[in-house]
């Protein structure tokens, strides 16, 4: 094995040197840079440059983007945003979507995936049916939801009336707007999660189940001792993707309310909506950038937590 790994072979070309290492070709040639060039150009211009720019902008007290000049370098914009009641509301709303919406979505998706996976007939049909929302334009679906949520004509109120509940002003009562947005994100997010869980379930080696069958192990025991532990990396990955995705909730709100205001009095505002609102509607680039900076810190923090926890607790095969 080791001697095979160390085996190297060279083929001499006209200009470049070709080495085969560990069964993988490696061509030593500066041509590689040419292949990378197109991607590097766009990544530098539209990813790394804006990232550095926005990080810098956030530290200015006032910033004019047309001339790229700022005054008052320091933490004042960041402090202003953190103290802004609108930002605090945005953070609170976003946390609601993350801590209430994500567990429900992940739980439902897991249940649906396990049910679909256990079917002998109709697996493909249900898989395709549940995945449909993933490919449909969120804006178009949002318009449909706007009417489903309607307090007089909407199906959702019609549905809850069956259980004797009073009509709810889902989209116009500030008490319910975040709940409505969360319901919409659950509906919208379910598709991807079901598919990812199904993929995870199908990756589990059938041998384990056969062995359990031979031993006559009960269904519940098979589920808790085989399926769940082997699925835990997938559950963890899906949860983390969902958390980060939920922190970025924005298009759902534009779909329901348009891009000018997040519901009545901005009551459904989220962290990302706050950033765009500051920039496009209020024209305060420095606050928008400062809010973006705080957001980046949150995302990096989440990613770090994910790395630490997955190293400690998630069972990998």
């Amino acid at each position: 094995m080791l001697s095979k790994l160390k085996q190297k072979r060279s083929i001499k070309g006209k200009r470049s040197k070709v080495v085969i290492e560990n069964g993988q070709i490696s061509v030593r040639s500066p041509k590689a840079y040419l292949y990378l060039l197109p991607a590097v150009i766009v990544l530098v211009a539209f990813l790394f440059y804006p990232l550095i720019k926005i990080l810098r902008m956030g530290f200015f007290e006032r910033y004019v983007y047309i001339t790229s000049t700022g005054t008052g370098f320091g933490l004042s914009s960041i402090k202003h945003v953190l103290a802004d009641p609108v930002y605090q509301l945005a953070l609170k709303n976003t946390c609601f979507i993350v801590f209430i919406g994500v567990p429900i979505t992940v739980g439902l998706a897991l249940l649906i995936a396990i049910l679909i996976n256990s079917l002998t007939k109709g697996k493909g049909f249900f898989q395709c049916a549940y995945f449909l929302p993933y490919v449909t334009s969120i804006y178009a679906v949002g318009i449909v939801f706007k009417w489903l949520f309607h307090s007089d004509y909407g199906y959702i109120n019609l549905f809850i009336k069956i259980f004797g509940a009073d009509a709810v002003h889902w989209l116009t009562d500030p008490k319910y707007v975040v709940l409505s947005v969360t319901l919409f994100t659950i509906w919208n997010g379910l598709a991807l999660k079901v598919i990812l869980f199904l993929a995870g379930l199908q990756k589990i080696d059938k041998q384990y189940y056969q062995a359990a069958k031979v031993d006559g192990t009960g269904r519940l025991r098979v589920f808790s001792k085989i399926t769940m532990p082997l699925l835990s990396p997938t559950i963890w990955m899906v949860t983390m993707i969902s958390v980060i995705h939920a922190f970025k909730t924005y298009s759902e709100i534009v779909a329901l309310y348009g891009s000018d205001a997040a519901g009545p009095g901005n009551s459904a505002i989220t962290v990302i909506f706050y950033i765009y609102n500051m920039f496009f509607t209020k024209g305060q680039v420095h606050y928008a950038a400062a809010a973006a900076l705080i957001f980046l810190i949150i995302v990096i923090g989440l990613t770090a937590i994910q790395k630490i926890i997955s190293k400690r607790f998630v069972y990998y095969v």
């Binding site: 070709v18 990544l43 318009i143 509906w187 993707i241 680039v285």
Partner: protein
Amino acid sequence: MGSFEKFKMLDRMLKAVKYLLLIIGALFVFVPFLWMLSTSLKTGAESISIPPTLLPANAQWGNYVQAWGVAPWLLYFRNTLIIAVVGTTLLVLISILSAYAFTIFSFPGKKIIFMLYLATMMIPSELLIIQNYVTVTKLGWIDSFRGIIIPTLANGFYIFMLREYFMQVPSSLFRAAKVDGCGTWGYLWKVMVPMSKNAVSTIAILSFISYWNSFVWPLMVTNTDAHRVLSIGLMQFNYSVSSEVHLQMAGTTIVLLPMVIFYIIFRKKIVSGVAKGGIKG
């Protein structure tokens, strides 16, 4: 024997419950679409009746004719198609080139550049939009296809997916190609890409869907119908028919239909592609 039959019955009941739960769940997924279709065929009065009716008394196909006349749908459709096709082609192309460089070449700085590419996946694109908007404004690209497409090409995601597949192409083929007088450029297009055509077509389809449905960025950088995509056209359309739900739903159906057909045709590829590639953005 008795206990076996009991077990069999329990098994059958469990199966029925499973199907029932899945059908109820699927119903929740489908209700918005079914309601949309039903409402799009109602009369104006029916669409706002209290309590809401389930189905239209008479299907009003004329709603579609009326909705079609209000907005330049063909123009929106053409714009969306241009953006999805050109964007996908360019994105797939530059992803292939980069993935290839990381697969067969070794060059100074490879590790660092690879790490930087990896880092791109962790940066939320939402953060970049403000500065990209400024850049696009300064370049004079507002309200143009360039402005909509080019900034979205800064996407490292597909490079990694492709590289995984490129790595699996056996290196013996490289020697064989070399003997046949194939250079690195020829090897890429004659061997590497055809060998990975499943992966290439998968990322093409996934990127096509995300371009087709993108609307936050196109909304920000367009301000006339000339470059508006379907979703934003729908937004404009809804302003002009404001409270007429049945027309809004006819418009929404017009916008959703092409993608639903695309999904039905490519459903297996789309589902397996997403399952394999995980997620994007």
